[in-house]
Symmetry: C2
Subunit: 271 residues, 2 copies
């Protein structure tokens, strides 16, 4: 019981137990979305199964998660398979199943980082500090939104005023609720923690679902950890909405201005 009360809801949501070659997890009520669990937490669970695996070497460079079917409340199994190792990299294929059916496929590249010449070309957006902004109210929204403190600089759907706007960009400061030091799992989850671009674009809700999410990691685990419990700045925009699918393209920055990750997803929309 002590354990139950002390564990952070995010850690509880991505908690896995090993059974033979598989990792068993359970959906979290705290991170419920409209249909099934919030995809960011599911992506983090898949990455955790790789990181927990005894054969794992190196740090995440790239993760792609394809959401094939809605996950039902309850247990799921994750099976990571190391398909090829080189001196520097590891290549993983992962499946998440429920009752024998594949709900998610994913691939990941891990690698040993090494100090090299480095330079950031992208520029961190100039925005007010998180402390200068109000947190968005979360009442009436899916449970997972309440697991984050979001302070939105721009790009929040104005449902009272549905109309198509030119620019679907969202800029938001975000961190876990309650506070939790940033790590590669929460960073992965935050890469999916945006209102869907089409909600911002049209200022109305609708039926949507991510089909493919890619995260590219631009910092090592140590640098990610250095953000601690502070907010991180997340930016997302869309390039094109077209015949049932749109993209969501994003950047995630540490409070101190390090580009931690870039992310891209393709999202289904009904109409």
């Amino acid at each position: 019981m002590t354990k139950e009360t002390n564990i952070h809801p995010f850690d509880a949501a991505i908690y896995l137990t090993k059974e033979n070659e598989k990792y068993i997890g359970k959906t979290s009520d705290a991170y419920k979305n409209m249909i099934g669990p919030f995809g960011g937490v599911t992506a983090a669970s898949l990455l955790k199964a790789i990181i927990d695996h005894p054969e794992r070497k190196g740090e995440p460079i790239s993760l792609t998660v394809n959401f094939a079917a809605a996950i039902k409340d309850g247990k799921f199994s994750i099976q990571p398979r190391l398909r090829r190792s080189t001196r520097t990299t590891q290549h993983w294929y992962v499946e998440l199943k429920q009752k024998g059916s594949v709900s998610i496929t994913a691939t990941a590249v891990l690698a040993r980082r090494k100090d090299t010449w480095s330079e950031t070309e992208a520029r961190m957006p100039e925005v007010p500090l998180a402390g200068e902004l109000a947190s968005i109210p979360v009442e009436g929204l899916p449970a997972w939104v309440g697991q984050y403190d979001m302070r939105i600089v721009k790009g929040i759907p104005d449902l009272a005023n549905p109309k198509i706007v030119e620019d679907s960009t969202t800029l938001q400061w975000i961190k876990d609720v309650p506070d939790r030091p940033l790590d590669v799992f929460s960073l992965t989850s935050i890469c999916d923690a945006f209102f869907p671009r089409i909600f911002v674009k049209r200022n109305e809700m609708g039926l949507i679902g991510t089909v493919s999410l890619t995260v590219h990691f631009h910092a090592d685990l140590k640098t990610i950890g250095e953000n601690g419990e502070r907010h991180i700045l997340a930016k997302a925009w869309a390039n094109k909405f077209y015949n049932r699918f749109f993209d969501q393209t994003g950047e995630v920055w540490s409070e101190e201005g390090e580009l931690l990750a870039t992310t891209n997803q393709m999202v289904y929309f009904r109409r």
Copy 2:
């Protein structure tokens, strides 16, 4: 022999024969890179194995190809596995093997498109027409470069003047040599047909290798085909070079201004 002389080198390079559950291909001398074949053609071959598969339904929405090991000259096998189908989507996992070892893992999402509200938010770069620009000389470059007519607006490595520049963006018109009508395979290949960002950033060559390539398709097969044998406009930039890996982020536009695809990759660099 007639067949040999009439087939386009790109179609020859992605040509596959079926043996049981596998598709057998062969590396193409025409598309040789510095080490192994040009990755764009390999990515196109993986997509072709899916599209050729009798169970395939729908059009490509998302493709992620993870390059685990250099492909050796000669034969390879590609095995596409349909992992889950829904009413709208298909989820594929694909492996490319040589002599029993996995060289590449890939996933793809296909879907039935449907006419919906659509809008492009990205803006096509304003550039001179292809006809107003000279083709780059290809002597001394890997064979695959000679399979394309590239007319570079900006962002070509200036090897005579090695220095780090602020902006690694390349803008180029590109099409197959000899002429070939654009299709989803050549589009996929062109998503990888850039000088690596680090060559442009530092104006020098170096040892690099793509580890993960993602293509998001923003047009249907019909729209892609409508570009015919004309050039398409490709733009690529980098967000961050960091401790052995950098990203390459890109857009591909039809001559008429349709955004056909966006693409992202993570690339290893030695130093």
